[in-house]
Structures are given as C-alpha cells and as structure tokens.
Symmetry: C2
Subunit: 210 residues, 2 copies
C-alpha cells in the first residue's frame, strides 16, 4: 500500500534511480516516460528499477517530494527571519526559489509537473498521493502570503490580497523550470536571472511613491 520501499533510508542504488528518473520525467513528462527510459538513463534494465520501487507512480512521487522538500528547506528559514523587513525577506525567498529552479532543474521541473496534475483526472492510486503534494504546496504558498502581508503592514506593499498575490509570483517562478535550459546557463547567468526575478516580483508589489 505504501508504494515505495523506503524514503528515509535511501541507499546509493536508490538515489541513482531517483536522479535518473528526475532526468527522464523532465525530458518527456510523467505519462510519456517509460520505465525503460528510466533504466536507459541509468544504464541498466527494468529489473533494477523494480527492485527499488513497486510502481512508476511511486518513483514519480519520490522525485516530487524530494524536490519540494529541498525547496522548502531553503525558503522556510528565510521566511522565518523576522529580523529583516518583509520586502527584503520576499526578495531573498524569490531569489532562492529562482536559483533552485535552475540549479536543480530536473527535480524542480518534476515537482511543478505534479502540481499541474492535481487538477487532472484521478490517476487512480495517485489521487491520494497528489493530495499530499497539494497540501505541501498550499503550505509553501502560505509562507509567501505571510511575508506579503507583513510587507503591507510595513507600508511597503500595495493593498493586495496576499493569497491572490502569490499566484503571479509563484507562477512566474515555476515557469522558469519550463523555459530554462540547464545546459546553457552558467553560474553568472543563474545569479543574474534570479536577481531579475526578485526585483521584478518585489517591485510588482511595492507601493509606488506618488
């Protein structure tokens, strides 16, 4: 019932599969990716994959949760830094999010795919699994909504609905995983793009000084 055999104690064999699966799912999407594709990417055959995972959906979920946890682990601490202003905190959260979209492109692209799927037809077993993904995403969005709310109280941000305002911000950010080509970007590019996104989003919320 649980699907994957273990997520906490993942040995090296399992981690290799996870990496290969992230690449494969990024390349072709969940449905179009076959277990053979993942095995090919791994330089092995199906047998190896099925030794570690019982089903394709379980591999996918493992990639997705790995990506989401990595994102939360980086952004959560910034959101909690109450010593800096809401606007500055938001800038750093956006910058970090944008950076991960590029440096960890495959895992983050797959996580985005999972969020897109939640409105999709019941994938039988996956329906329950995707529910966990949506819960995580909602909590993540709330981190941004809270910081936006604080920016409003500080008088720095316009009078927006914080929850609605997270939509264009996170939409812009998540879209990076779609257009960004990890083969073309070096470190300087990543920094430049991340800064541009942070400026854009914080600026978009800032109250214009009349």
């Amino acid at each position: 019932m649980s699907g994957r055999l273990s997520r906490s104690g993942s040995g090296p064999g399992q981690r290799d599969i996870l990496e290969a699966a992230a690449v494969a799912f990024t390349r072709a999407g969940y449905e179009a990716t076959t277990i053979d594709d993942i095995a090919d990417e791994l330089g092995a055959t199906k047998g190896r994959v099925y030794h570690y995972y019982r089903a394709k959906a379980d591999i996918f979920l493992d990639v997705v949760l790995t990506g989401m946890e990595e994102m939360i682990a980086g952004v959560q601490p910034i959101a909690s830094s109450t010593d800096i202003s809401g606007a500055d905190r938001l800038w750093r959260m956006v910058h970090h999010h944008a950076g991960l979209m590029m440096t960890r492109n495959s895992f983050q692209r797959v996580a985005v795919q999972a969020v897109e799927m939640h409105r999709l037809r019941e994938h039988s077993t996956q329906k329950a699994a995707l529910q966990k993904v949506i819960t995580l995403r909602d909590e993540y969005e709330q981190l941004f909504a809270d910081v936006i709310d604080e920016g409003k109280r500080e008088g720095l941000f316009r009078d927006v609905d914080p929850r609605l305002a997270t939509k264009p911000a996170l939409g812009a950010l998540n879209w990076i995983s779609i257009w960004y080509d990890p083969d073309r970007g070096d470190y300087a590019t990543v920094q430049r793009v991340a800064a541009e996104y942070a400026d854009f989003i914080v600026n978009g919320l800032r109250r214009s000084r009349t």
Copy 2:
C-alpha cells in the same frame, strides 16, 4: 502527411469535436487523454472522431493552434496601438491575456501544455508540428518585448533586458490556466484577477521614483 483534414473550413461537426477535445485534454493532459475520453465528452464513439481527424496528435494541434490564434487575435491589435504609451499598452495586453486564460480556460490550458512540451522528447510526428507552436510563441513574446522596450525608451520602465523580462510576465500569466477553476469564477472575479495581474506586471517593470 498534413494530418488534419481541414482547419479553415471546419464545419459544425468538427467544431464540436474540437470543443470536446479541449475539455478532455484540459482534464487529463495530452498523453493520458484517450480518444474514447474525447468521444465520451462528445456523447459519441471513436468512429465520429476518426471521421474528422486521422490522429490524436492532429486533434491536439488543432486545439492548440485555435487557442494561440485566438490569443494573438486579441493581443496583437493592442500591441499595435501606437497612440497610447508603452506602459498602458502593456497593461491592456496583460489584462486581455489574463482574461482569456480564464474565460477560454480549456483552449488556453491546452495551448500552454503544447508550449511546455517543446522541450520534451521527440514525439516523432509531433516534433515538426510543435516547431510551429514554438515559432508562434516566439512571435507572441516579441510583441511583449517590443512594448517593454518602448516603455524603457519613454523612461517609464527600468533598464531590463526586454526579452528576459517577458519570461516572468508570461510565466505568471500562463500559470493562470493551471490554478484557475472556471467553475468557480464569475465575471467580476475575472475582471478583478485580470486587473491585479496587469497592475502587478506593469508595476514590476516600472522605474521606482526615487
């Protein structure tokens, strides 16, 4: 070779299929949608569908191009209105784009899917078809880049790379097709959300008055 039987002279029978396909593809995504799903949505069987289209990929492409042409038809004239400022033009372009994402959710969601696919593995026949989609998308992005460039020349916008600046803007907009639920939104909601997006994006580019 051409695939679809006709796109210009689409009779009522063909248009019904297109609508049903848009809904079905929106619900489950391209790969997970079966021809039977489309036929069900239509209240018919496969036979009807295959009478008008030779292949699933052709139906998809027809939905996608319909959505993209509809978007371009609305935004292009605004982009060409040289009588109003670059900033105002951009505001209206964004407002219109956001509105269509909600009022024509299924067609636009499917068009976004196609754009997401272009990085995906060669879908054999589709590769060539998707190339046309990417060309259209590039031309569409250029409309925004040009207006942003004009806003810069007017001294209203910050010194951004216009082409890069279209990415967060269009990413935010396209993401609407993913989170917006057409069953929940009335006319007032659509107007409010579209205005918020337009404010957000134009504000994001605006030079802050120091």
